[in-house]
Each structure stands twice: as C-alpha cells, then as structure tokens.
Symmetry: C2
Subunit: 153 residues, 2 copies
C-alpha cells in the first residue's frame, strides 16, 4: 500500500516533515484506516523536551504534516479518484492548534490518528490525535487550505 | 547579555528547540527588548515546506520555545529576580496555536517577537510573531504552564 506522501508531486515532496525527497527530514508516511488516517513515527533520542519526553515542536510538526496529508487524501476521496491522478490537489496549513494533554514519553513509536471534521470548498478541517502506548497525549486541529497554483510570498 | 536559555537549569537544557545542551537541536537564544522578547533564527536549507519557503513545523517549533522562554522570563521579572536565581521557574506548553498568514521565504534570518498577554497563577499566555524581511508571516499564541516538580507521564 502506498503512503499518501509517496503520491505527492515532486514539487511538494521536499517538505521537512513529510517530503520523501528531503533526506534530512522526518519523511512521515500516512495511510487510510477506514475513515481515519494513521501515521506511525519513531522519535529519535535528540527529539527531547525534558529528558524522557518528546519535544512538543516535533509533536506539532507531526500533527501538521499528518493533517495536511489527511486533507489531501480526503479531497481526492471526495472526488472519487486516486491521489496521483490529475489535477493534483495540494494543501498547506492555514492554522495549527495543539493541546498538549500530558507529557509524551520518548521511546515508543507514536501513533497519529486523523479524522476529517469538515471539507468545504478549498478548506479541510482535520482533527489529529497523538497516541503512545495506548494513551492519548496530544490533540491537534489543522485548517488545511488548498494551495493556489502560484504559491508566492 | 545572556540569553534566557543560557540560564535554564541543566535538567531543562536538553530541549530540541531551545536546550543549549542539545547538540542536534535548534538552540534558540531569546532576549528582552523592552517589554518584548526577541529570538533570531537562521533556518537551514533542509527546513523546507514547498521549495523556497520555510517548513511550518519549524515555525511552530520556534514559536513554541520562544514563547515558553518568554513565559519563564516574564515570571522571573514579575518576581523581580534574575532568571538563574532560586527557586527555578520552568514552563511547559499547555497549548500552541499558529496562524500561518503568508508563506515564509527560506533564506533570511527569522525574527520572532513575543509579548506576554496574561500572567496569572501558574499560567502565562504569550503571543509571538514571526517576521522576515519586515513582513509578518505567522502569529502564534502559547499557553505556558509552570512545570510541576514531578513531571511525569
């Protein structure tokens, strides 16, 4: 089964969080699991907050890319077509909110689970959770926005 | 002038975003500038979103650590004492919100500017902005919470 990110066009495949072509990045891989999306990620020892716990910035980053990936996958699914079909639908983050519910232990694989809350026009709202060893440690909400053809500063 | 992060006790100096002892991390340095706080950070070429623009997860991470640093500094200032005086005041992130206002060009140094919106009991609410070449590209809000003596999962 191909991950969402393995279908991204080359010009959006360099993201530090999810780009398969960014050799320094996290290269997360996200898949459907029914109506939810799942990413599993192994934090590295340097991804520390307080020793023994995962850095919140990493958690925010994972939620961000997991959620934009979920948004893209949901948009293709709504059009009943494959993620590598034309025209490509690319999403960027409009806003990101993370509630850190409890410290996330550093060591086990993290599991992110996403759900589409709303898909309306060019916006997709995604709720994502971070689980570790059966405990919910963070909850995120992302408003993903379809990228204009000309992405300029 | 010492940065806030250079006064952090050793047990909170390993954070990937702001720990001076994390050799793989960002090691951000934050200073007072009047009633605002300032962090300047040079993104690296791999910190890409779309080629040419800064990865949103990095922006979220910088806002996170800049804001918890601002919270700590403000808490010491409210007690009219130096950041390395006893007892130490340590803050963790309760929630993080980032609005990505426009794409952040990758290349120039980023400037984060923080302000304390509210300091009440063990909570400090901080608003932080990301500026690049005179343009405001992202705005964040962090609720920082004083860390309990026993930080456990």
């Amino acid at each position: 089964m191909r991950a969402f990110q393995d279908t991204y066009p080359e010009n959006v495949a360099h993201c530090y969080g999810c780009g398969r072509l960014n050799e320094h990045g996290h290269q997360i891989k996200t898949y459907w699991d029914g109506d939810e999306t799942v990413t599993r990620f192994q934090p590295q020892p340097e991804h520390t907050a307080i020793p023994g716990f995962v850095y919140g910035g990493l958690i925010a980053s994972l939620i961000d890319c997991h959620s934009t990936g979920t948004a893209a996958a949901a948009a293709y699914r709504a059009e009943q077509r494959e993620m590598d079909s034309e025209p490509p639908l690319r999403f960027v983050t409009g806003s990101l909110h993370v509630d850190f519910l409890k410290p996330t232990p550093l060591g086990p694989v993290l599991e992110l689970r996403g759900r589409v809350k709303e898909l309306k026009g060019r916006k997709v709202m995604v709720e994502s959770e971070v689980w570790v060893d059966g405990a919910l440690t963070a909850r995120g909400e992302v408003v993903a926005v379809q990228m204009p053809d000309t992405f300029k500063a």
